[in-house]
């Protein structure tokens, strides 16, 4: 009895909102006023963070290694882009439709991931992303093919805030969406559903033995993750007013995995912190060696694996724990 109580306390403790988290989100708004010229870069970070967050739900909490997560990002981007092109330019409506379309595809394809090993899952996710890439490439009359989708007209957010050239609206809009979806994800992973999902990830056979249906959990989280990735894609389409084949590229799937791994898997802030580090690094490297920055990204990946990629996550967590520990005592 006492053990269940202490486990319960531990769960509550994990789910508790820490003041360092409030600080993080307040800072994320403040940076815009400190560096207003960097707003476009910041909105990229927010979108990348959201995309990585969606991957974390399936990789960190569901244990599915996916090499084709760009599929949902791309589907969302094209859905929002096509709507904006054909006169339905309301951003929130675009997000909703993108989420629905991506969720549908995620739901349909999730059943393919229930069988087989890591390798099979890897191949199926990769194969689906490549199929969608080919599809978008071939249906040039709808998607614009290799030239990209042009002529998008995105309306003002909530009918009030129109997108400006400097990306101020784009950033606040992306950040707001990220924040809302972050809270949602946070709620979900700390719920009983999230805990059962962790059990499935830990040991699928034992989870089944204590009465957790692994299949339904994986389908649910995969669909949710697809929807969030679709929203990230839609945000990207709306804020840049451009959708190109690049959104479905293999590179994007690999990048988002790198982002998540830099920040830490299985920790919702991991995706966001990874996105900050990755985008700043990419921006900086592209400034020095425009063509060859990929080399350094590859080097970072290799080193991360050799050193152990949990270091950053545990480092951050021990810092915040120490700081909040002191804060509590004082």
């Amino acid at each position: 009895m006492s053990m269940t109580a202490s486990t319960h306390d531990m769960m509550l403790e994990q789910a508790r909102w820490r003041w360092s988290e409030s600080l993080f989100w307040i800072l994320s708004v403040l940076v815009l006023f400190v560096f207003p010229s960097k707003a476009l870069l910041f909105s990229q970070i927010a979108i990348m963070g959201l995309f990585a967050l969606s991957l974390d739900l399936i990789l960190g909490y569901g244990g599915i290694v996916s090499l084709g997560h760009a599929a949902f990002f791309g589907v969302g981007a094209y859905a929002a882009g096509l709507m904006a092109k054909h006169g339905l330019g309301d951003p929130l409506l675009g997000l909703a439709v993108a989420a629905c379309v991506a969720a549908c595809i995620g739901w349909l394809t999730s059943f393919l991931l229930l069988r087989g090993s890591d390798l099979t899952r890897l191949m199926v996710t990769l194969g689906i992303a490549l199929m969608l890439f080919e599809l978008a490439n071939r249906m040039a009359s709808i998607t614009g093919g290799a030239d990209g989708l042009q002529g998008m007209m995105v309306g003002p957010v909530l009918g009030l805030f129109s997108f400006d050239l400097f990306g101020k609206t784009a950033y606040l809009y992306s950040l707001a969406v990220l924040f809302v979806l972050f809270l949602l994800s946070r709620k979900i992973v700390h719920s009983t559903f999230g805990l059962s999902l962790r059990a499935v990830k830990g040991n699928i056979l034992r989870a089944g033995a204590i009465g957790i249906s692994a299949s339904s959990r994986l389908v649910a989280i995969y669909t949710l993750s697809a929807a969030i990735a679709g929203i990230a894609g839609a945000l990207s389409a709306q804020t840049t007013q451009l959708v190109s084949l690049d959104v479905l590229d293999f590179h994007r799937s690999a990048d988002v995995m790198l982002v998540l791994v830099i920040g830490g898997v299985g920790w919702l802030y991991g995706g966001i912190i990874g996105a900050i580090m990755f985008t700043l690094m990419q921006d900086w490297l592209a400034g020095i060696t425009p063509q060859y920055w990929e080399f350094w990204i590859g080097l970072v990946l290799v080193c991360l694996v050799l050193v152990g990629h949990d270091r950053i996550k545990t480092g951050f967590q021990s810092i915040t724990a120490r700081v909040s520990g002191k804060g509590g005592a004082a």
Binding site: E134, W293, E294
Partner: protein, 286 residues
């Protein structure tokens, strides 16, 4: 019609030589390696370099490409890859993608992004007519050479002492060690031979597949399809998977060019849904 079938077979054979090393390291040793194409690229580039700069004959370059890629494979296996055998699949994926990115950018930086070309010897140029179809001599050469290689590899795996040691080491490394097999050496040699074959495939394929810095990414999916569709029962699965893939790809591109590569991806996903353990694997998966 016959020409297409023949081209498809040649293409499939080429894919087999490129991917059979991977089917052993990934299919049997369960090590997810996405960087296999890097060794093919090394083979292709060294061949182009030797022919164009030093004027060596093409046929002499083929064994050199094998040796060069095998040496590179051995070096990387000893220094880097062996650390990852026991790690999680996520780590293996990340690490090998990192290697691919580095190789692509490094080759682009050092050599440039243009296509590499090799000059084929005169005796391999031209076409011959068989059964009313016109077939390139070079493709006949590829089919004969790769067919011989496939037979040799299969014999090596099944009939020789080294083959038994490898199969033992794959099935249960601990017991194999207990029986006095030097598992590390066996894995290192296997990895080196697999990389060497990839290099040889790259050298042979430069003329047909094209060779530029994005080769490892472009063909990664083909290698993976061969391995996953072929299953984990040995290299014969990979052999048939390569042939099917080669014929389907060439045929698909010829008859229905508007859907492009879609056909093979769809084929792969369907196969994996029906038989998650691969097309030719033992029905009881590991």
């Amino acid at each position: 019609m016959l020409t297409i079938l023949f081209d498809g077979i040649a293409y499939g054979m080429l894919l087999f030589v490129l991917a059979c090393g991977l089917s052993v390291t990934m299919g049997l040793m369960n090590f997810i390696n996405l960087s296999h194409g890097v060794f093919s690229m090394a083979g292709g580039y060294i061949t182009a370099f030797l022919i164009n700069r030093w004027g060596l004959p093409f046929l002499l370059c083929l064994p050199l490409a094998f040796i060069f890629s095998a040496a590179l494979g051995m070096l990387l296996e000893r220094t880097l890859y062996r650390r990852l055998y026991a790690r999680s699949h996520l780590d293996q994926v990340l690490f090998t993608i990192g290697i691919v990115f580095m190789a692509v950018a490094a080759v682009d930086y050092v050599i440039g992004s243009q296509q590499q070309t090799v000059k084929l010897p005169d005796m391999l140029k031209g076409r011959i007519d068989i059964f009313g179809g016109s077939i390139g001599l070079y493709r006949v050469f590829i089919i004969v050479l790769c067919g011989c290689l496939a037979a040799t590899i299969q014999m090596l795996l099944v009939k020789t002492r080294f083959g038994s040691q490898l199969r033992a080491a794959v099935d249960d490394p601990r017991v194999a060690r207990g029986m006095g097999i030097n598992v590390n050496t066996v894995f290192a040699i296997t990895f080196a031979v697999g990389s060497g074959l990839a290099g040889l495939g790259g050298a042979l394929g430069t003329d047909i597949l094209g060779m530029d810095p994005t080769f490892p990414i472009k063909f990664m999916i083909y290698f993976l399809i061969v391995v996953t569709v072929g299953g984990t029962s040995g290299i014969m699965g990979a052999f048939f998977a390569s042939l099917i893939l080669g014929i389907a790809d060439v045929g698909g591109k010829y008859y229905v060019p508007q859907i492009g590569a879609f056909i093979i991806y769809a084929l792969m996903v369907v196969v994996l849904i029906i038989r998650p353990q691969g097309l030719f694997s033992r029905s009881r998966g590991k």
